[in-house]
């Protein structure tokens, strides 16, 4: 992601104090713990013009749920609202802020794209990654059917309801394998971990790549 952004002329920093947005705690019902982590996030990223996030799910946590966490702290809430405007999911940063679709990438692969649920439904990201992929030289995009179903990851859901989560992953795999694609691309590392984990367990040679890895391919 850093190489792609630098290739477009942006100055990129990785504040080494960063850790997590707090979503695992928030989604598990531990709001005090989530609040502590979110506070750390807000502090760490205070000085940056734009914050580009390689995950739709983390982006959604920051722009939709931070405000909920700090409902009763007017000062922090103000900082959260200022932060919300500066946070961008990677693919939409490219198409909407940088205004590019062709980043000069080259990858000879047949790929299928997995929409992470939070990117798709919370952030309404659908076209941006597809536009970016369509400009990658050598790449053929094949849509899986259905293409809007969850991979079954769901954070702690994946271990609290492992069998169910696994069954959802295998249904996802069927859709992926039917396309004949050799690579699954997504905006979310956690979906990719779930999908790759299931592919690997099923002994399939299909691999997974984050959109940033695809766009950094030359």
């Amino acid at each position: 992601m850093a190489s792609v952004l630098e290739g477009l002329g942006y100055q990129v920093d990785f504040p080494e104090n960063q850790t997590c947005c707090g979503q695992p705690a928030f989604n598990s019902g531990y709001r005090d713990e989530a609040r502590a982590v979110a506070r750390h996030f807000i502090r760490t990223f205070a000085g940056y013009e734009r914050i580009v996030v390689p995950s739709g799910s983390c982006t959604s946590m920051i722009v939709h749920h931070f405000a909920e966490l700090f409902r009763k702290e007017p000062e922090t809430l103000e900082r959260v609202h200022a932060l919300e405007k500066r946070v961008w999911e990677f693919s939409t940063f490219l198409t909407e802020v940088a205004g590019v679709e062709d980043v000069g990438a080259h990858l000879d692969e047949v790929v299928t794209f997995h929409d992470g649920c939070h990117a798709l439904r919370d952030l309404a990201i659908h076209d941006a990654p597809r536009k970016l992929l369509s400009r990658v030289r050598g790449l053929e995009l094949r849509e899986m059917q259905p293409n809007d179903e969850c991979c079954g990851f769901g954070g702690t859901f994946s271990v609290k309801f492992a069998e169910l989560s696994g069954a959802m992953a295998r249904t996802k795999l069927d859709a992926i394998l039917q396309t004949g694609a050799t690579t699954v691309v997504s905006l979310d590392p956690s979906c990719l971990m779930q999908i790759q984990g299931a592919l690997s367990r099923a002994g399939k040679a299909v691999r997974t790549m984050h959109l940033a890895e695809v766009l950094a391919s030359r």
Binding site: D32, R121, F157, V159, F161, A167, G197, A198, R201
Partner: protein, 473 residues
Amino acid sequence: MSVEFDQKAHETLADANLQLAIYTSTGRLKRGRVASVASDVLPDYQELRTQANAIKKHAIDNLDYYLEEFERNVTARGGKVVYCKDATAVADFVLGLAKERGAGLIVKSKSMTTEEVDLNERLEHHGLESVETDLGEYILQLNHEKPYHIVLPALHKTRYDVAEIFTRRLNAPHETVIEKQTALACGVLRDKFLKADIGISGANFLVADSGAIVIIENEGNARLTTTAPRVHIVLAGIEKVIPRARDLATFLKLLARSATGQFLSAYTSFLSGARRPGEIDGPDEFYVVLLDNGRTRLLPDREKRQTLYCIRCGACLNACPVYRKIGGYSFPGVYSGPIGAILTPQFLGVTHEPALPFASSLCGACAEVCPVKIDIPKVLLELRSEVQKAETRDNRNRLERLSFRAFAWLMTHPRLYEMAGRIAAWMAPAGEGKWISSAPPWMNLPPVRAWLSQRDLPPPPAKSFREQWRQRR
């Protein structure tokens, strides 16, 4: 988490025929909905959802006002409104009326609210015969089962299952042709309609400004239930009230589409009051029983109150990847799927089945299809937080709580976080970049075991991102 939930989910997941039945039926309904709300057939679909949400919000925010208006108008048309606070009160009312009228046979049309209060069982317990007349419900009643789905109660039954049930319970010849099965049920039920003393129905909407109830159905059995017997009793939750008859223009466009993909259901009945002089059909007596049963407990909470907007279309079940895997019986209570996951804990209390709000990947497919725009994932998150508060209070789930405290601590101490990452990478089995399919003994923790029961784990990176970043500078 919960043993019972896990056990039922496991049984459903392991049953290949059941998996196919659920997946096929919900898939058909799902595609039907999508086609019926497509922009070329219903261009104002999203505006209708926004309107429906606004009407429901207004009605629930002013519930007392509209219930009183509804009651006044029902009374003015010769009907009677009865308020019941719980299942016992409903049964007592029906039993009392049946006794006064000397009734022995009751016919019922489909109603989730009657399921919620176990009405059949309570009536049968007192020697009354109460017969379900919706085909799906009838099949299940014969087999002593609960509805599997809010709209299609027998969604999990194949025609072969039905043939077996009819043979076993009705001594009918083994018949697998659906039309012939339907004809058989029709024959039995027609007789019941003609002999019944009381008809009990639910209601899709209670219209305040006209004192009418609206019932939507496809089989015509609700029409017979509500008009053939001398007495008609409607049982409906208090949240079913809408302000004006003209609001139906919004809801009727959404309900059947969301439920089954039909533009309108086969029958839409508007019923108000008993038969008036000069009318040729209709009951002599008309009662509307308004049920609380925990509903008013939802009212004080600004966020969770939206649960009461539900019009029971079942679209969230069909869209839900969890429901489509574990089916209806894994859910406690009569309401299954995403709406059940937010209704049941609020009706019965969050500690009744604490696992329930967590049995979701929070994918949001439910909220996307909800015709009244209930933000189900948001309510689930609220309930999760309430579950943890209750568990803390009861001093349960200590290990998990401790883990999340440790998580928060680690995530606010970046140096230690980095070090923890290094330790984890060092502890992971070295596999030359190959994915890990079994854990070494020192990694054999419950979450790792759970993950590995289904999938492989990623190998640790040769170099952490931070190390790569530092070298790059």
